[in-house]
Amino acid sequence: MSDDHVYMTLAEGHEDDTRWAYGTGFEDPLHGVDTTVPEGVDAAELAAVCVALADDALVSAQRLAEWITRAPELEEEVALANIGLDLLGQARLLYSRAGQADGTGRDEDAYAYFRDAGDFRNVRLAELPCGDFAFSIVRLLVLSSWRLAHFERLASHPDPVLAAIATKGVKELAYHRQYAAEWAVRLGDGTDESHRRMRRAQEQVAPYIGELFTAYDVRDEVVADIRQVTAAAGLPMPVYRPLPGSGRDGEHTEHLAPLLTELQGIARAHPEATW
């Protein structure tokens, strides 16, 4: 048996961790980048911006992960995982930047695993349970359109690190929006049942849209996106009645705490451990 077999070398030379993907001591995703906060940028404000955007991304990625092994088709397993991974990647970079800007030097895991629900700043739409595929698609469409419009502006932010994170994120979010828009059209137009489910999903998402526009002034871009998609899908424009309160102020639905319990459970049970 002479097959070239990678398994045989698995345990060789493991003192040299660099041969692993990313190494094993990988803690700082911004390693090697000049992380000085430029003059004229309010560091505390920069940190707050990064945490809020990171929380949106992490909580969204967590919900997308719940679809894995439950998606309607294998192609959707791959696509939803891909979107979740993009958002998780954005969250990690943004948390790292926040830790540098707020002077605490906290790493990504300190933000993700050791804050309670009241400290999270994500918008409430991100934390709502997955619902059916129609709900997940309508939510993804709204959130990716909103985040994309905001990231396009952040790409010229005076902090070069945040600007770079946003520039990378724009390409990812454009794909997320396209994926959601294509499914919204298929489902809106497809069958009576899919149309009915889309209408119901729109109603469920609508109350949480006002909060998005309070956070960032990107209403025109988002409304234009939704108008285009609903027209192609044969769906009405959602009428939104904004709910009071805002996730950006730490006011959440009852759904965030259980999400965080699942996310943080093992890390908190073993605070001394390294993973």
Partner: protein, 312 residues
Amino acid sequence: MTEQLQEHFDATISRDQRIEPRDWMPDGYRKTLIRQIAQHAHSEIIGMQPEGEWITKAPSLRRKAILFAKVQDEAGHGLYLYSAAETLGADRADLTDRLIEGRQKYSSIFNYPTMSFADVGVIGWFVDGAAICNQVPLCRSSYGPYARAMVRICKEESFHQRQGYELLMTMMRGTEAQREMVQDAVNRWWWPSLMMFGPPDENSPNSAQSMAWKIKRHSNDELRQRFVDMTVPQAEKLGVTLPDPELSWNAERGHHDFGTPDWSELMRVIKGDGPCNAQRMERRRSAHEEGTWVREAATAHAAKRMEKGAAA
């Protein structure tokens, strides 16, 4: 005519050349391949479940990203393999029905539960490792599309296996509780992993024909021995004990001697009585059934667009 085709087929196999989708092939060869490739595809898809449970619970964002990407790769492997089966005339929807109706099998290893995050590492090390042992020779399988799919799959599996082993090394350098978790996971997964190579050679009815057709290249027992020989030094380096008192180096054979897996357990799990058979099937069935309206909507929309395109 058939005789000539058979001669040509036999000659292609004996020259170690590949059979391609449009080539003539005996019905038995086609059926065996569809069965094997479908079973392999089903295993990738069901295999997403034991580890997929831990994506939302992973204890660091880096581990979450690694696991998320790994489970996504498995969905991708399932897709290539169903496509390879389709080159033989099978249909993905039909194969999926066969899986959820219990008419086709998947690897019985995925009927065991994952009890802690260490299981993610041990699955990477043992289960992906055993899969690689089984699959690397399949990169030279006589059927072209299968062999080519296996090249890519083996590369990704190797990456997963390294990630699993690296997780375990990190955990072994951590707290006492983490080391205990790793040892416990090793104890639970070792014997089921040895069973992944299938029943002993004298009791493996399909093997001889598959070897002759060069669909399969090595016997179950050969591959199992190889897995044990490779894993023993890795376990030593890691600092865990493999749960087999009979495991010892046999200098005369140049191989490790090891105990006999509980074959009655393998038969039980294959027949449906493993710890998680019902749960794995139920998840796959409910995902498929709950997705029916989505797939129907996509089909209806595509048909409407075709109609509009034809009218325009």
